[in-house]
């Protein structure tokens, strides 16, 4: 097991290198640092000196991949590629446009993101599985039919609608919760209640329908027929046999997103003013803060790969038929 995990982690290294190369190409080769400087300073009234100053302040005044003017190893390290891209591997993200340490910012913003994303994930999973079970239990009845119709309708509604509508009804009409904002500690609950609820509701449609098909597929299998033939009640068959086996694809499917919960949700965080990583990313995109976007791309892929590794491990934990070699 340990050897397997080590090997999986080593497999992740070339992927991270690939991600790094892609971001490097996107941010420095497609557009040169000069372009970025002109963009940030405003394209019209920009002097070459201002561009040079902008680049020097941010360390973009180095050659891209090879510094012939430097001494010894400096030829490779005194370059934009080494300073800006390779350093990401040790989580050295540098500074944002407003001169703040990105790493510190990320550490501070991770927790509000998690405080929103984790409840959405857990409650959402519970609600969707229960709803799917309900539909599977009453399969081929009107309840099932209208359940599926409801799911398809809910899938077809934009997330933006849930957020804007929810904010309007709960905060403006009913005055139940503040419309946006955030506070630390226990006060967070009143700010998080609505975003969590909306996050759960907006996910119900697609997930429940998907879980329902998994349940139905499982119910068509031979062992279920055997269980019924033994005279077990339908509810026992469903909860003791089908649920357990159908949970395998469900769990392994959702494990991959667990690390990504740290990244938070772009939309809810920015609508509800929660100071998490999602709103940080949106702000960075809108302010065209390249350093922050680059860092978030890298962190996102690290977390995704962590999710893939967790998925593989979780297979062995929930399904005894799979053994890691």
């Amino acid at each position: 097991m340990f050897a397997y995990v080590v090997r999986r982690v080593l497999y992740a290294v070339p992927i991270l290198i690939g991600v790094n190369l892609i971001t490097f190409a996107l941010f420095f080769v497609v557009n040169t640092p000069d372009d970025m400087a002109r963009m940030q300073l405003g394209a019209r009234r920009v002097t070459p000196e201002a561009v040079e100053k902008w680049k020097a302040e941010r360390g973009y005044d180095l050659p891209l991949v090879w510094n012939a003017a430097a001494q010894g190893t400096g030829k490779a390290t005194r370059t934009i590629f080494f300073q800006k891209s390779v350093r990401l591997f040790v989580f050295d993200f540098g500074y944002s446009e407003d001169k703040r340490d990105i790493a510190a910012e990320i550490k501070a913003r991770m927790w509000p993101s998690l405080a929103l994303a984790l409840p959405v994930f857990l409650v959402g999973l519970a609600v969707c599985i229960s709803f799917a079970l309900l539909m599977a239990f009453f399969r081929a009845t009107y309840l099932d039919f209208w359940g599926v119709v409801l799911c398809v309708a809910m899938m077809s509604i934009s997330t933006l609608f849930y957020i804007i509508g929810g904010q309007y009804v709960a905060s403006k009409v009913w005055h139940l919760v503040p419309i946006s904002g955030y506070a630390g500690g226990l006060d967070a609950a009143k700010f998080l209640a609505l975003p969590v609820l909306i996050g759960v509701i907006s996910g119900i449609g697609a997930s429940s329908r998907w879980y329902r098909t998994l349940f139905l597929e499982e119910m068509g299998k031979d062992y279920v027929r055997t269980a019924r033939a033994k005279g077990l009640a339908e509810s026992v068959v469903l909860f003791r046999h089908v649920l357990k086996n159908a949970l395998i694809p469900i769990l392994t499917g959702v494990v991959v997103v667990i690390p990504l919960l740290f990244l938070g949700s772009l939309l809810s965080e920015s609508f509800f003013g929660i100071p998490g990583l999602g709103s940080y990313t949106i702000d960075a995109i809108q302010a065209q803060d390249f350093a922050v976007v680059r860092s978030m791309v890298f962190i996102g892929s690290v977390l995704y790969i962590a999710g893939l590794i967790l998925t593989d491990i979780s297979y062995t934990l929930v399904d005894p038929r799979i053994r890691l070699e």
Binding site: D35, V152, V297
Partner: protein, 448 residues
Amino acid sequence: MPVVLVTDVLVWLLVAAAAGYAIYCRRHAHLAGPWGRVFRSPAAMASLVVLGAYVALGLLDSLHFRPALAQKADAPSAYASEVLSVLDLGLAQLRGRGEKTYSAPLATRSYAKELIEQPDGRQLRDFPRLRFGGAQLHDEADWAADVAQRALGGLAVSVLLSFVVLLGTKILKKKRPDIPWQAAGISLGALLLLAGPAVALSSVYHVLGTDKVGQDVFYLALKSVRTSLVIGTVTTLVLLPVGIALGTMAGYFKGWIDDVIQYIYTTLNSIPGVLLIAAAVLMMQVYIDLHPETFPTAVQRADLRLLFLCVILGLTSWTGLARLLRGETLKLSQLEYIQAAHAFGVRDTRILARHILPNVSHIVIIAMVMDFSGLVLAEAVLSYVGVGVDPSTNSFGTMINAARLEMSREPVVWWALATAFTFMFALVLAANLFADAVRDGFDPRVRM
């Protein structure tokens, strides 16, 4: 003077390809069968009618030109810098009747108070009458009667048309009794019943109100349809060749080719989608801003941005299809008929094209229709994040983005948001239902 936008060309190419594919399907039983199953589903027929209405709007909006300016007879003809579409011609009166600012649906007075000069010289702060909305009314007390009269008039026409449709379905039912014409007829009738009063009222009122700069919301919504359709279809056009080529090659050749392709798609997949799109769009924005000379008109610039967004979306979302195709191809290449082809010395490219590709085509079709609705929804989100279409392009995303802050006004400006969400909901719901029917029709597991 006709203006040919890149996305126009792609849209019409897609129409031609779809027509070609339809003819090909009719002649081949193995394809006509699954499509027949799709068309025998009532939900598919009903949603097809709705999709058809959207597509018609989108196609009319994909023929662009610059109107000629009125000039003296001997002068060389000059053209306006504004680019219009054929749809704009049809909606000329909706487009031309701009108000100053917000006004509620069917309103006769503006949303905001203004200083109005009375005939006797005094000034008064009141809601001014709209320039166009209800301008034909001398006395505003007649408003309710006028609205009711026009709406009923429109409704009468649509009821009449609905009867014709109903009659048509009866005749079609005799010719092809297996196809649920009734479902299609009901959905067409419902569309007509909605459209009739809307058209009748829109000649003198703003049926769905006006937005911040006084543009008719109904017009904006109709113009936004094209953007959604372009995003939903052109993206798949980008995604398909990449996904099909890499997916089947990985599954067929195995070995190092498989390793390399798997590496590429795991790497691309591991970058969170929105961030990759955001990074790419940011970079494109830098390019567009620094090279304004490349784009002769604002519409062409916006169009290129739309196309680029499609390309980016396509390049980030082919991985799912490639993975599915790889798995299926791995399975297929173990089968006897492929081994037989090998034994006969058939070349690899020929095996891929003749033996593998037709047998994975159902996966491609299903993926294509399933992706559509997700892409339409994604456009709205991306436009909100600021990495979507150009702010000057009409789209549901830009409509929502412009209107979302108005929910905090008193009284609430709800109509622009409601319109955008309703139009989007109808499109996505129809696409989802149709996609479900296609999946059921093509899934080999349900075949007898």
